[in-house]
């Protein structure tokens, strides 16, 4: 019996899981290997006798050097960090209040408002950037970080609002009722009791929002034009693909460095992030 259970666990659990993990991690591995592969290996035919497509025997840091010396990569990294941070903060603040209102306050049209906010999230960015570009131009924000800091919340706020609304609904109503009897106003109860209890939800909304703005491409491509204002995703693509030449090594080095901050943010908050997606801890 025990032996049978063991092989069943392997068959139904470990083997599928391993396949899945390998599948999802392969692109990252490919990115990492390409980033340290010397140019001669990169441009060698796969059919060559000494081809080693899945690993390299001669790793190099040339691409990283080239990336940092010949492009504005550090500036792009800084731009991305600033824009992602500011738009995340704006979106979180709006999302917290809106999510609380939709979860707790009874007012005319609250359900319609909730649905409407959700629907705005469904409008594809590839359509929305056209009217937004017009607004950005009219407000003379083009080619400044503010163009992105103010447009990212258009999709981040609906997202944060919905995630947080769901989280606030899992917090027992009695907590804030008790706080209000204890002497807090509704606002006070929200700030002193509900928000601290909702920290896992707020953090996971924040991580998601940060990642979404970090990875955003189309608005950054359209609203920013000068090299030194660009974000990492746009900068890497527009400066390292010249004509039909792909600087694969530097492209992958940029992608690798660009994903480090997000990976750090995830690993740092992973516990909160899981709790945030699975509901609040009951008091």
């Amino acid at each position: 019996m025990v032996i049978e259970r063991r092989w069943k666990k392997w068959l139904y659990f470990y083997i599928p899981l391993t396949v899945f993990v390998l599948f999802t991690l392969f692109p990252f591995y490919w990115m990492a290997v390409t980033a340290v592969r010397p140019d001669p290996e990169l441009y060698r035919s796969w059919r060559a006798a000494n081809a080693t497509p899945f690993w390299t025997l001669d790793p190099t840091i040339e691409h990283f050097k080239g990336l940092l010396e010949s492009t504005e990569f550090l500036q792009w990294l800084w731009n991305t960090l600033m824009i992602a941070t500011v738009s995340t903060i704006i979106s979180l603040i709006c999302g917290m209040f809106a999510g609380y209102a939709l979860a707790r306050l009874k007012f005319r049209g609250s359900e319609f408002l909730g649905t409407a906010i959700f629907i705005t999230y469904l409008v594809p960015q590839t359509l929305l950037f056209i009217p937004l570009a017009d607004i950005i131009r009219n407000m003379q924000l083009g080619n400044t970080p503010w163009a992105l800091m103010l447009t990212y919340p258009t999709f981040l706020i609906p997202f944060c609002t919905w995630l947080l609304m769901g989280y606030f609904k899992t917090i027992p109503r009695e907590l804030e009722e008790c706080a209000r009897i204890d002497g807090a106003t509704r606002f006070g109860a929200m700030v002193r009791i509900i928000f601290p209890v909702a920290v896992p939800g707020i953090l996971s909304a924040g991580i998601f929002a940060f990642t979404l703005s970090w990875n955003e491409f189309i608005y950054a491509l359209v609203f920013l034009s000068s090299v030194e204002e660009k974000t990492v995703p746009v900068g890497v693509v527009s400066e390292l693909i010249r004509g039909d030449i792909f600087f694969w090594g530097q492209l992958m080095a940029g992608a690798l460095l660009g994903s480090v901050p997000v990976a750090l943010a995830y690993s740092f908050f992973v516990e909160y992030y899981v709790a945030g997606l699975t509901g609040s801890v009951k008091g």
């Binding site: 009695e174 009722e177 706080a179 009897i181």
Partner: protein, 364 residues
């Protein structure tokens, strides 16, 4: 220290659900008043209106000298204990208990003094630095009580505070609550669906059904003189036995009759029941007002019955019997020896018979 007066209080939800109907109540100063009723009877809604957590649709609520209709909960000088305790999960026990005082800008040493004092009363001093999730159900319950008493409010509100505890702890906490109330001498309103809790805790008990107050009275008054059939059936366990009877006159006396049962109406009750002659009524009799007849019982209060189930509980035996078309539960002495399917003669205690109008269900 305050009395609570509700005058003509109504609650409508969304204009179509009438949850609380014209409630008039007066909880006296220092009284422990219990609202009891089945779920959905409006007891919790009434409590929440007193707390200020629900708006009242019409009527007036007064706590002490003040009409509180438009006061927010924080200004009503009340403390409430919730069914799920509602402890702040991110705060320590101490911070939970201190929160209400901090919000009211009490000096730090006064807060500490009061929290320590309340913790002493409830025996939770060793837990003050813990977080709520590190506490057992009973400990959480005590912390919730402590958080209420540190404030020295003029009114305590309890919303089914013992429902989440296991049976043994519930009995223990019930006694502690009673003791605590006697010590603090603060008016308290307590909501429960458990009639045993209501009877044991309440100085007076308010029985509610469908948003309407059915009866207000001391526990034994409710038990002995229920105002209607609902109260009679709700209070007491096992519940009162009911039989649909017809009031008939024969041989100079008034009788309650149905198939297999014929009970003479005691002379003291004849006056009240005479107008019902020829009509249907409900006969109510408590399980302890029934026993196995012996030779000396007057035949006017005895009927034949068959024993269906015998439930020996040690201190007493519960007999489930069938008499005619009616089923009865009798609570009898443990010395009684009867067997299932046995035919017995069942005696009614004539002074403990209840009669209810068939249509209005109110007591006759």
């Amino acid at each position: 220290m305050a009395e609570v007066v509700l005058t003509g209080v109504n609650k409508w939800y969304d204009g179509n659900v009438h949850a609380v109907k014209d409630v008039n109540l007066h909880a006296r100063d220092k009284e422990f008043m219990v609202f009891v009723g089945p779920s959905g009877c409006g007891k919790t809604t009434t409590l929440r209106m007193i707390a200020g957590l629900e708006e009242i649709t019409s009527g007036e609520i007064r706590i002490g000298a003040r009409v509180v209709n438009d006061l927010p909960p924080m200004d009503r000088d009340i403390a409430m204990v919730f069914q799920n305790y509602a402890l702040y999960p991110h705060k320590s026990v101490y911070a939970n208990m201190a929160f209400g005082l901090q919000m009211r800008k009490f000096p730090k040493d006064e807060i500490e003094k009061r929290v320590k004092e309340a913790a002493g009363i409830l025996g939770i001093e060793p837990l003050l630095q813990r977080k709520p999730r590190q506490l057992s159900g009973g400990q959480r319950q005590r912390v919730a009580l402590g958080r209420a008493i540190v404030r020295h409010p003029q009114l305590f509100l309890f919303d089914e505070p013992l429902s989440n505890l296991d049976a043994k702890l519930r009995v223990q906490m019930r006694v502690e609550l009673k003791r605590l109330h006697e010590r603090l001498e603060t008016t308290a309103i307590y909501v429960t669906h458990d009639q045993v809790e209501a009877m044991t805790l309440g100085d007076r008990v308010v029985v509610m059904k469908d948003g309407v107050v059915q009866q207000v009275g001391e526990p034994l008054e409710l038990y002995g003189n229920p105002a209607n059939r609902f109260v009679a059936g709700f209070i007491g366990s096992p519940a009162m036995n009911f039989a649909e009877v017809t009031i008939a006159e024969s041989g100079g006396g008034l009788w309650a009759e149905t198939a297999g049962i014929r009970v003479r109406i005691p002379s003291a009750r004849v006056g009240a029941l005479r107008p019902h002659t020829g009509k249907r009524a409900t006969l109510g009799v408590r399980p302890e007002a029934l026993r196995i007849a012996n030779g000396s019982d007057p035949a006017d209060y005895v009927c034949e019955a068959t024993v269906d189930v015998v439930e020996p509980l040690g201190s007493e035996i519960l007999l489930n019997l069938t008499a005619g078309a009616n089923e009865f539960v009798a609570r009898v002495d443990p010395a009684v020896t009867v067997k299932t399917h046995e035919r017995v003669r069942l005696a009614f205690d004539p002074v403990r018979l209840h009669f209810f109008d068939h249509a209005t269900e109110s007591a006759i």
